[in-house]
Amino acid sequence: MPDETKAIELRNVTKIYRKSHFFKTTAFRGVDNLSLSVEKGVIYCLLGLNGAGKTTTVKLILNLIFPLTGEILVMGRPVGAETKKKIGYVSESPYFFPYLTGFELLDLMGILSGMSKKVRRERIGELMGFLSISNFVNKKIKEYSKGMQQRLLLAQALLHDPEILIMDEPYSGLDPVGISEMREYILKLNSAGKTIFMTSHIIAEAEKIAVRCGILKKGKLVKEFPVVKGSLESEFLQAVKEG
């Protein structure tokens, strides 16, 4: 029986990137023997410097890249099409199809999630209210501001009502108002029972919402601990310098 108390679990996962330059191949460890688990219903924040392996971890969970060794479980099941139904993904920057309207993008994402037309329409209507996107949802995405794009990104992630929300640098590129709004949304979603797995390098923001933190350095999890207000920055710096 799959262990459904854990939303996400990585067991000894290693990912090696290889690059070929003419006759020379170089290898680089994206994550190295990484093991971590995220309990259901928590906000888990993965911290690390640039290139530490945060995005690689996210991509592994989303099955966008494949591990060399190890096992990745979502809701106790190996990653695949079934587990993706339980995941909503908010990417680091809003990468969209610029010539579609917001509504069309949401509709397309609903189709790709296997939702019926009726359910798609209902959910899009609900999200338009929840994320206040109704006044621009029929415009082409290329005309959106960064804030609008971020809200649309969140809307598409929530469309199929996933149990887990994976957010890769959700505050990236947002102004203080945008950051505050995003924080509110994350807290609301978490209180509605969703597990949040996020990556960030903005420690102050992570400290405000995260229940548990992991610190990555050169693809290895060097520290994992429950967040205690006021101590995250020093913990982080210590882990990064020492490890």
Partner: protein, 253 residues
């Protein structure tokens, strides 16, 4: 199959609104206009020149647009991470790629239909005699573009830059048009080169048998060859698409 259809519908919408599509349409209209000017230089063969240059322009700019779309789907969207959103959904990768491919095919069809209608209108204004071969020419232009689109997608999937699939697809486009020309050299080649050429003919799309617009008079191709030529394009495209889907399934983004 429903998701393949829906992805193709959205790909059609997206690409039909894109700058590449409108630019290619504008360029074709521009070429039509210049074909008119050009034909003034040779009033005696005016309609022939308008027809040849017009159909040539439709083919060339449809090729450019289709290539841009193919490279965008299979390379650019991976490089700029747009593909993360659809692939993080529970859709099968082969279904997504097939849907995108069919969407591009639909855009190309739309483009050829629009431009072909415009060119036909212009030719009728000039009282040009239009026969069945003329209209068959459009079908074969479409088949050529569909075939090269599948090759463009395959090359984009295995490329690490935007330029290389573009260049290699163009080289394949040229080579594919030269197979009948190569036949002439067969008697003058060493046997190993002949074998290489024969195998290359299976692997590289043979556009000489699809190049009906270049022989609109229909004297080069007996009617019995049309259906096999159409089926060739269909099966070749399907074979390339199967490899593309297999690569796409294993591709890391």
């Amino acid at each position: 199959m429903k998701s393949v259809h829906n992805v193709s519908v959205y790909t059609l919408k997206e690409n039909a609104r894109s700058r590449s599509f409108s630019l290619s349409v504008i360029f074709v209209v521009f070429v039509f206009a210049s074909a008119f000017l050009f034909s003034r230089l040779s009033e005696v063969v005016e309609t022939r020149v308008i027809r040849d240059v017009g159909m040539g322009a439709i083919q060339f700019f449809s090729l450019l647009a289709a290539l841009f779309f193919a490279i965008k789907v299979a390379f650019t969207e991976g490089a700029n991470k747009t593909i993360y959103l659809p692939l993080s959904r529970p859709v099968k990768r082969w279904q997504y790629l097939s849907g995108r491919f069919l969407g591009i095919v639909a855009v190309v069809f739309l483009e050829i239909l629009m431009m072909g209608a415009l060119l036909t209108g212009l030719l009728l204004l000039k009282n040009a005699p239009l026969d069945g071969f003329y209209f068959l020419g459009y079908l074969f232009i479409f088949l050529k573009i569909v075939t090269i689109t599948s090759v463009g997608i395959l090359l984009s999937l295995v490329s690490t830059s935007f330029v290389s699939p573009f260049v290699f697809t163009f080289l394949i486009w040229i080579t594919g048009h030269l197979f009948r020309e190569f036949d002439y050299l067969i008697g003058k080649m060493p046997s190993l080169a002949v074998i290489f050429l024969k195998v290359a003919k299976w692997i590289i799309p043979n556009f000489t048998i699809l190049n009906i617009p270049d022989y609109v008079e229909g004297r080069f191709f007996q009617a019995g060859g049309y259906l096999p030529a159409i089926l060739y394009a269909v099966f070749y495209t399907a074979a390339v698409l199967v490899i593309s889907c297999a690569i796409f399934e294993k591709k890391e983004f």
